[in-house]
Amino acid sequence: MATATRRIAINLGGGYVPGLNAVITGAVLAAHELGWEVVGIRDGFDGLLFPDRYPDGGLVRLTRASVEHLSSAAGAILGTAARSDPFHVRSINGENQVEEIDRSDDLLETIRSQHIAAVISVVGTRALSILFKLHRKGLRTVAVPKSVENDMATTMLSFGFNSALSFAVETLDRARQAADSARKIGIVEVLGEHSGWLALQAGMAVCADAVLIPEIPYDITGVASKLRKKFQAGSTSALVVVAEGAMPGNRVQVPDVAAAADSFKASLSPGATGHEGAHVIERSGHVAETVALQIQRLTDQETYPLVLGQLVRGGPPTAVDRQLGLAYGAAAVRALNENHSGVMVSFQPPDLKFVPLAEAINKVRTVPGDSVFMQVARSLGISLGD
């Protein structure tokens, strides 16, 4: 049943994950069925905040014809904006001074003047908070969760995760072959600052010897003991998967380099004073490097660290993410058609439901202690570091 013609917009907040085009396709096709018009906002909200930067004025008309072959494509036709925040827009004022200004009111006014009734926003955790603030200021919106780490709470599965998982598994297989060939222990770090889904599920799929995730503080001596036994039994290689947020149980071990810089940092910053203030940003690759060194020291077997990092974000979506993206996009239109606003589409099998944004922010979907994936991993003899 067609309803009154409405004009809605769709934008992509945050960085790329596989399946973004599928969400756009799903939303456009579903809106087309309702007789609605859909426009895409370029580069997060930049298309509306800086229309002069775009030959098409920052808005792209999205039709059934323009999207029907799009869902399988890698990339994102609207462009992404990893740091598009209308509350802190960097600009240069009349005195040539760089400053961050709040342009959220401008944005909302432009949305009104463009006769956009609502915005479907595809977001990760950070962009979700920004969207929540815009909603509190009056924006009618529905969020679609995206995450290659599957760490968006209140949804069972974010699109993008399955593609990242598939790539991680393929790469881990290669890493294992490389370890076999070189007779070493491969230590592969994957994304997962707070949640270990990617490391756990990928590590399980390739039957890694150990998987270290943020949810379980690891005991490196236990991991090393298991690896030593494996080598004593005749094996010549091993594979350990670590999430970037994995931490040892006997924290806090400040790296030597940070300790050396302590006094300097403390003198510069009152927030960094004292030994306990030696908070250090762990760069991508830090965990793989640390674990590789520790295991080499404890096993006398050569190790090599490998970091997948942001590589898992690239590439085309898998069949699962295409379906999921299409479903999320279509569900977002359904939410608007049912007069929902300020909600996030949530996959709660077998349903797609709508949860308030207030319930979705500040939550991270971590691996619970009774997770079936943990049980399976343990039953396969995979050490989880505890």
Binding site: E95, S129, F132, P214, E215, V252, S269, H279, N362
Partner: protein
């Protein structure tokens, strides 16, 4: 130019930090006063807490004792959604930087371990100088004094001028560190009270300056030239923070030398090898350090560039260590 003491009621300034016993911000042992607000956004900035013109929240998870032991920041008067805890191994609080902006000083003070902290405090000239003068013995012995830094100290011209004028009244040597991207009237207001101006020449090309620092350098160069000419009694030292792949080329060094050498009051040109010590502070502020894959320049690079400078100033010398 005659240095007039400030007789009007001294204004307050937004002070980030007062650092004692500094040896790299001018002659002798000095006390450096960091002021908040900057008009550039250099991607390698080692003082990100000095950039914004208001007091701002910082969080050091290394000091947080967690929800079970404390949890005070998870309740009012902290703004709804500002702080949260992730279920899992880590009991520490996390900050939602998009929702925590409304935390005021009284609210932040509730944190018993000072894991939460507000960078920036309003201080009077007298308050700052009383703190600075604790090091008076060291100034007299070493020829040191006070250095205003930031941020960009010239963006608080009333306060900076009043502070430095009063320092002069108390017999304290004065220096400032500036990037120079301010209206000329600000620089003109402060410089009469400055003995030494340390100033940055970050990049030569205006387009590349805008790319890496957020704004072009046309006004900066104009200001520096005016300053050299308007204040012949003031000493100037040019500086370049050497960033690999950005400005570690001989062309930039030679261009700076060509700019400064005609002026006798520009007494030196120093290289500041890029370091990563400010990196952790980006985490305290919930920001992303964009140069995380950069490494400090090699000692060979610094040596090669320093040789060009030494030759221009007609001297040999020991290059700074990278």
């Amino acid at each position: 130019m005659k240095k007039e003491p400030m007789t009007t009621k001294a204004p307050t300034g937004l002070v980030l930090n007062i650092q004692h016993f500094c040896t790299h911000d001018g002659p002798g042992i000095r006390t450096t006063v960091f002021l908040k607000q900057c008009s550039l956004r250099c991607k390698w900035c080692s003082n990100p807490e000095s950039i914004h013109p208001k007091a701002e929240l910082a969080y050091n998870p290394g000091k947080c004792i967690g929800r079970k032991e404390c949890g005070l920041c998870l309740k009012p008067p902290f703004p709804e959604g500002a702080m949260y805890v992730i279920d899992g191994a880590d009991d520490k609080v996390h900050v939602n930087w998009d929702l925590a902006g409304e935390c005021d000083r009284e609210t932040v003070a509730i944190c018993p371990t000072q894991a939460l902290h507000l960078f920036g405090q309003e201080m009077t000239v007298a308050e700052v100088l009383d703190e600075v003068e604790q090091d008076g013995t060291f100034y007299r012995e070493s020829g040191g004094g006070i250095t205003l830094s930031g941020g960009e100290c010239l963006l608080q011209p009333d306060f900076s001028a009043a502070l430095l004028a009063e320092a002069h009244q108390r017999g304290i040597n004065t220096a400032i560190e500036t990037a120079g991207n301010v209206p000329w009237r600000f620089m003109e207001q402060v410089l009469p009270h400055v003995d030494l101006m340390l100033h940055d020449h970050k990049l030569t090309d205006p387009v590349r300056h805008k790319k890496w620092c957020g704004a072009d350098n046309s006004r900066i160069l104009e200001n520096f030239k005016k300053a050299y000419e308007t204040f012949p009694q003031t000493k100037f030292i040019a500086r370049t923070p050497v960033i690999p792949g950005v400005n570690d080329d001989e062309e930039h060094i030679r261009a700076v030398l060509a700019f400064i050498r005609p002026y006798k009051n520009v007494i030196d040109y120093e290289l500041l090898p890029y370091h990563r010590f400010g990196e952790s502070k980006y985490g305290f502020l919930g920001r992303v350090y964009e140069l995380e894959d950069f490494t400090p320049p090699t000692s060979e690079t610094i040596h090669r560039l320093q040789e060009i400078i030494d030759k221009a100033f007609g001297r040999g010398g020991t290059p700074p260590t990278a």
